[in-house]
Amino acid sequence: MFATIAYKLSRVVLLALLLSLGVLQEAEAHRVTVFAWVEGDMVHTQSKFSGGRKAQNAPIQVYDQQGNLQIEGKTDDQGQFTFKAPGKMDLKIVLIAGAGHRAEWSVSADEFGDTVTAKSVPANELPTSEVDQTTVATAQALPQTSTNLSRAELQQIVEATIDKKLQPVIQMLTEAQTAGPTFQDIIGGIGYIFGLVGVAMYFRCRNKSA
């Protein structure tokens, strides 16, 4: 009788396992991360679970400093979500990955170039920094055909180039931000546990001898 029950149970188990493979989309994970970087006036975000899987179709909310909801959206198949910055301000990006998973990332106002505000502020009111003067100087030294670039346009070009050059660096940062625990973390944790066992053993020995 036991054998027949075991046999029936194993068939149910197999069926359930096959079914679960079909419905499994939102696998459980221990950690989810969101990382954001600025490119011009666009903000790109990358969301990942521990283990390297991308967080797909997960809602993302963008808040300003006062905690007002500015932008809402969803990540794509690659776990990415890109939005246009609502202005040059501090932003808090919140990823809600469901089933108890949530992650945050802050983007500070300094990370945005001046191009974000350039649309509303006239060019002659832009802060004049040393860099601006050098770019203007180079612009004046260029042949006549290209000198009719305004300062704002030039600044945009420079920023676009820098963004392009920084792309690999940002990629590396994304990898580092979403990386799993290191070997040192793991060994350190095991060491802590064994240390606690040692402390407990010490108290035991002291009680015995007392």
């Binding site: 036991f2 075991a6 188990v13 359930a16 396992l17 679960s20 493979l21 419905v23 499994l24 989309q25 939102e26 696998a27 459980e28 994970a29 221990h30 950690r31 989810v32 521990s50 283990g51 899987r53 469901g98 089933a99 108890g100 998973h101 949530r102 992650a103 945050e104 799993g180 625990p181 973390d185 793991i186 350190g188 944790g189 095991i190 802590y192 546990i193 064994f194 606690l196 066992v197 407990a200 053993m201 035991r204």
Partner: protein, 201 residues
């Protein structure tokens, strides 16, 4: 199965912390000095198990091992899981410090319940012990997913949709843990029966 920071409401966090503290107190009181080394080994295994990713279908899941910890240790599973979760939160950023209590309860409570349900089968026939161990590993994860759904119920709209999602995602882990627990118990029966709970015949 770790709940991140900033999801649960204050009352849920506080009651989770209170339950975890009570469970830990009972566990420390019941923890036999002779079992400290074993408890440490299990804490280390639990701590590392979450790093083992098993590819299932299009994604991957990872082990929890709360079933076997509970089966072997009973109430002592509370302090063990608390310590391991604290280290996971600090070193791996799994879960969080504020959610430590809730996370401890959702993994340790089903583990303790499974201990009392299944310990009497440990010295029965091989097959009964294996089935009981499988059920223990399976139900400990199931119970955890159920409590997770319960905790999320206070923040997300519908308990049934949340619970179904969480339990569905954990089904492969339940089976894997059931099998692992069964193999461990069979191994201990042959090699090191002193580790097993229950009355030896």
């Amino acid at each position: 199965m770790h709940i991140s920071e900033g999801i649960l409401s204050g009352p849920v966090l506080i009651s989770g912390a209170a339950l975890a503290a009570a469970g830990t107190a009972v566990g420390l009181k019941k923890l036999d000095y002779d079992r400290i080394a074993q408890a440490g080994m299990l804490a280390a295994s639990f701590f590392v198990a979450s790093l083992i990713h098993v590819p299932v279908g299009p994604s991957s899941v990872h082990l929890i091992l709360n079933g076997i910890v509970g089966l072997l240790l009973g109430w002592a599973a509370f302090p063990i899981i608390l310590v391991a979760l604290l280290l996971q939160a600090v070193l791996f950023q799994f879960g969080g410090i504020t959610t430590l209590g809730v996370n401890t309860v959702l993994m340790a409570f089903p583990a303790v319940a499974c201990h009392y349900l299944f310990r009497k089968f440990m010295f029965k026939t091989d097959r009964a012990a294996a089935v009981a161990a499988f059920a223990c590993g399976f139900l400990a994860v199931f119970g955890g997913a159920l409590i997770l759904g319960l905790a999320l119920m206070f923040t997300e709209e519908n308990f049934f949709s949340v619970a179904a999602l969480v339990i569905g995602a954990h089904v492969p882990v339940m089976f894997i843990e059931g099998v692992i627990t069964a193999f461990c118990i069979l191994f201990f029966r042959k090699v090191y029966p002193q580790l097993l709970p229950g009355v030896r015949p």
